[in-house]
């Protein structure tokens, strides 16, 4: 009688501990997912700012260099692509195209001294380059959070919970090689 009671109590304890562990893992996954989404909104804000400046930029450039049609069209097209992009991978691709198109636009603008003297143009150029840098930093933060989340849903034992509740992987926001090369920083070093 006593033996059965002890076995029952031990079983009950095991079940309770397992349930608590699962609960903890589930909460951890949800938290990591919230962080990744929040980090995404950090990128999204900057992408929207970038898109909102482009029509103004195109209009300004047209006033001085209307026959640079191809360059201007590329920028407009890239912007439309970015606007329609669904998900981080597509947005990253469109954003990279836009970065390239803007770069050639600013390169071409060097040939138009009057455009270079336009205050509005200079302001837009400065702001766009600031946004580009902000996107790079937001990307770094987002990718780090995504890496954490994606790892969690693939390693044992939290992979069980992840499959049970359909936690899906996030796409990385990958930049084409930018000026800032990714540098390996080692986390452990002895002193």
């Amino acid at each position: 009688m006593l033996a059965i009671l002890i076995v029952l109590i031990v079983l009950l304890a095991v079940v309770i501990i397992a349930a608590l562990a699962m609960l903890g893992m589930y909460n951890g996954l949800v938290r990591a997912r919230v962080r990744a989404r929040e980090a995404w909104s950090g990128i999204d804000v900057q992408l929207k700012r970038r898109m909102s400046l482009i029509p103004n930029l195109v209009e300004t450039v047209k006033g001085y260099a209307a026959h640079e049609k191809e360059v201007l069209e590329n920028v407009t097209r890239a912007r439309a692509m970015l606007e329609q992009a669904g998900g981080a991978a597509q947005a990253a691709q469109a954003d990279n195209v836009l970065t390239g198109a803007l770069r050639s636009l600013f390169a071409v603008s060097e040939n138009y001294p009057q455009l270079r003297a336009n205050e509005n143009f200079l302001e837009l150029q400065q702001e766009l380059s600031d946004i580009e840098e902000k996107i790079a930093f937001a990307r770094q933060f987002y990718n780090r959070n995504v890496m954490d989340f994606n790892t969690r849903i693939q390693v044992f034992p939290s992979v069980i919970i992840a499959n049970m509740f359909n936690f899906e992987r996030f796409d990385f926001f990958e930049a084409e090689e930018t000026a800032r090369e990714d540098l390996q920083v080692s986390f452990t070093q002895s002193n």
Binding site: Q140, V185, T188, N191
Partner: protein, 306 residues
């Protein structure tokens, strides 16, 4: 010494929160012990002695909440807007995005010596101050390295921890000093008056009080320095992770160390906050043990090895 650094800011904060809690528990224990000892020495009846800790804790809480504005005040820092310092503010904004932190208040100290510090009890109440010399003497990447280092202090909750350490250090020194004086000059007579039995026990209490009074401030000072130095290494590493350019901070540190101007507004009480020790002290192994910052050569070497 091994520095294990979690990649996600959330994990670093969790680790630091744990350490802060342990430290806090230790503080309360030591302070409680000290106040009971003081209570006994000044002759409070036993059940009342432990309550001496209440005014002490109130004092600690007030110091904790006011430390940030006091620090900014005595260093002569002025808050700047985006219109006044567009480059600086933009850099801080970008790094905040990368670190996932809210934007701190940014201050400039009109002093030619290059240095910087961060303060505030948590990221929502954080401030960051840089000197005019820092803005003038460093190039863009170096400045970014320094700002990332300071932001890492904010993100890692180092400032909260250091503020606690400093408040505790001050209180321990204060109480130890108080007790020392009492034991030597005041309480002796009183115990003579009582003079029946218990003399042996009183002698032991006095002995403990004296030893405690001598050791407590030394121990507190050493804890303060050890914690501070460890936080500096960690902030160097997390800063480098943020800018992806450890060389920027490394060469900034070299420039700061080589600069001949001493910082006019720094003193012993605020030295631990700055990115490099603003006081020009002579070097010796004893000084090394009590210094708030690791030697710059060591930090540069570690950064260059990343």
């Amino acid at each position: 010494m091994t520095l294990e650094q979690p990649v996600l800011i959330y994990d670093r904060i969790a680790g630091n929160r744990r350490n802060t809690f342990i430290l806090l528990a230790l503080f309360v224990l030591v302070l409680a012990g000290l106040s009971i000892a003081v209570g006994i020495v000044i002759g409070l009846p036993y059940p009342l002695a432990p309550f001496l800790i209440i005014p002490i804790l109130i004092f600690a809480v007030i110091s904790y909440y006011s430390s940030s504005s006091v620090t900014l005040g005595i260093s002569g820092a002025k808050e700047v807007t985006k219109e006044q310092e567009p480059e600086l503010i933009r850099k801080v904004e970008n790094l905040c995005i990368g670190a996932g932190l809210p934007m701190p208040k940014v201050y400039v100290i009109e002093d030619g010596s290059p240095n910087a510090f961060a303060t505030g009890r948590d990221p929502e109440h954080a401030s960051m101050a840089v000197t005019r010399g820092l803005l003038d003497k460093l190039d863009a990447l170096e400045l970014e390295g320094v700002l990332a280092h300071e932001l890492s202090h904010i993100g890692n909750y180092d400032i909260r921890m250091m503020t606690l350490v400093v408040v505790f250090f001050g209180l321990t020194a204060l109480m130890a000093d108080f007790m020392f004086r009492l034991t030597f000059f005041g309480a002796g007579r009183r115990s003579g008056n009582r003079g029946k039995g218990g003399g042996g026990a009183m002698a032991i209490i006095y002995l403990i009080a004296i030893v405690g009074a001598i050791l407590a401030p030394i121990a507190a000072q050493m804890i303060r320095m050890a914690v501070s130095r460890q936080r500096e290494y960690l902030a160097d590493a997390s800063g480098a992770l943020l800018t992806r350019h450890p060389e920027g901070l490394a060469s900034a540190l070299e420039k700061i160390a080589a600069d001949p101007d001493p910082l006019g507004v720094a003193n012993k009480a605020t030295a631990h906050l700055y990115i490099n020790n603003p006081l020009r002290e002579h070097k010796s192994w004893l000084n090394n043990m009590f210094t708030t910052h690791p030697p710059i050569e060591e930090r540069v070497k570690l950064l260059r090895a990343m």
